[in-house]
């Protein structure tokens, strides 16, 4: 078996979609070659190349996951804001129930006062 091509120089991360696709294509070919040989020498060389390509794609994945983390952070603030609005709405709903209760309490207090005023 011929010697695998030397690994390409380290590309800029994140990879462009085209470059990512090219790396994935190369990895697929190396993987297929690995799966179709039992020769230890060939396996060692293929695995070495495969690891280099895989490391580039792993760095790209790590970068993209970290980039998503920043977006999640922004989203967290927005959802928290919405939750605050819902809490405020729940407080307004509670205030209506409390209003009825307070109304009853005031009437009860007036009624009690009237019973203490002679001739009322």
């Amino acid at each position: 078996m011929s010697t695998p091509p030397p690994p390409p120089p380290s590309p800029a991360i994140p990879l462009t979609p085209d470059l990512r696709s090219a790396y994935q294509g190369l990895l697929g070919k190396l993987q297929t070659a690995i799966e179709n040989t039992a020769d230890p020498g060939a396996l060692e060389a293929l695995n070495s190349s495969r690891t280099n390509v895989d490391n580039v794609l792993t760095k790209d994945a790590e970068y993209r996951l970290a980039a998503n983390t920043a977006l999640y952070g922004a989203l967290l603030q927005q959802i928290s804001g919405t939750n605050d609005e819902l809490k405020a709405l729940q407080a307004q709903i509670l205030a209506i129930s409390s209003g009825i209760s307070t109304f009853g309490d005031i009437l009860g207090a007036i009624d009690k006062l009237l019973t203490l005023i002679p001739g009322a």
Binding site: N68, L76, T82, S101, D111
Partner: protein, 357 residues
């Protein structure tokens, strides 16, 4: 309508105050209840959508947390296998301190925080749309109804006296007194009457029910006005969340596939190298690990596929909720809300009149 303009005047001065009050209370309670049915119907359908959303959210939250942890665990295993491959290399000299996790603690923590916040949002929407007639509200309405009745009954005699209106007698009790003095027996007959309460228990119950209905109406109207815009504003955020989750899933799926391939390749290379000094039994055990790694990979891929489907369901379910919320604001509903406000105003007049007597 005269009755609604000054309902209490009719109630006090009429020849049959109890019947008038009962009819009035029943009438307005019926108006409120029919109004309530309209708004509650909208809230009920929103609640069904919100409950469906809660059901669609739970698997995403659970499976996403498991997926993040699983991907990190598999990647760590790959790093361990890589350590074996790199350890004997002359350059660079292997240093375990340089290893990088696939996702940092912060990466995972932020994702879980977003999912927890979203779950809180869903729970709040379900709670808000999940009926407004709470036991606490019923108790408050009952208490207010009782106090209102007591006050009405306490004031009614004074008002009737001032207006020169005779109280309706509720019961007449004849009393006969026979006095015997020596041989003379004197019999005296008299009747006494007890004034009926101005507000009977039946009317009191009606008032309590009407107060409960009024509070429910006000609450439902508040929800109908405030909740739909919140849900509609949330919809694009849910789409962003689902897009981010899908992006994560796509990256993790690809990474996991490569990590598993790497592990299998390294294990295979190790077993095929003639330099390894494994005895037949050890070699057999190491070979048997290979199919198990493939089984783990398939299970892992299936979990991510299921998570992806759950994320799709979540987005669709929230969008259905948003459409339902949007449907609550057409012009027809707006005009009906106008009618409801008028009914609420009528009730307000009734209660303010009652409270001044």
């Amino acid at each position: 309508m005269k009755c609604n303009q000054n309902p209490c005047a009719v109630w006090i001065s009429g020849p049959h105050p109890h019947r008038r009050a009962t009819t009035l209370t029943r009438g307005l309670t019926a108006v409120i209840f029919s109004s309530l049915l309209l708004i509650t119907g909208c809230l009920s359908s929103l609640n069904k959508r919100a409950t469906a959303l809660a059901a669609a959210t739970a698997p995403v939250v659970d499976q996403a947390a498991a997926a993040f942890n699983s991907a990190s665990t598999i990647h760590n295993m790959r790093v361990d296998y890589d350590a074996v491959a790199q350890f004997d290399a002359a350059t660079p000299v292997y240093n375990p301190r340089t290893i990088q996790p696939l996702m940092s603690d912060k990466d995972i923590r932020v994702r879980l925080a977003v999912l927890a916040a979203f779950q809180e949002y869903v729970k709040s929407v379900v709670a808000i749309t999940n009926g407004t007639d709470s036991p606490a509200l019923q108790a408050a309405a009952k208490s207010a109804g009782e106090n209102l009745s007591n006050l009405g009954n306490a004031l009614a005699p004074s008002v009737e006296s001032a207006l020169g209106i005779a109280s309706a007698a509720a019961s007449t009790t004849p009393t006969t007194v026979t006095t015997t003095s020596g041989s003379t027996t004197t019999t005296t007959s008299s009747t006494s009457s007890t004034a009926a309460p101005a507000i009977t228990p039946t009317v009191q119950n009606g008032i309590s029910t009407a107060l409960d209905a009024l509070a429910q109406f006000l609450i439902n109207r508040k929800i109908g006005k405030k909740l739909p815009p919140i849900i509609l504003a949330m919809d694009p955020r849910v789409k962003t969340l689902c897009d981010l989750l899908e992006s994560d899933i796509s990256i993790l799926k690809d990474q996991e596939s490569r990590d598993y391939d790497f592990i299998i390749d390294q294990q295979t290379l190790f077993l095929r190298e003639p330099s390894n000094k494994l005895d037949p039994e050890q070699r057999r055990e190491q070979i048997m690990k290979l199919p198990e790694i493939v089984r783990q990979e398939k299970a892992s891929t299936q979990r991510l596929t299921q998570l992806s489907a759950a994320v799709d369901r979540l987005e669709v379910t929230h969008h259905a909720l948003a459409i339902e919320a949007k449907g609550n604001n057409p012009e027809s509903l707006k005009s009906k809300l106008g009618d409801l406000e008028a009914a609420g105003s009528d009730l307000g007049n009734l209660y303010s009149s009652l409270s001044t007597h």
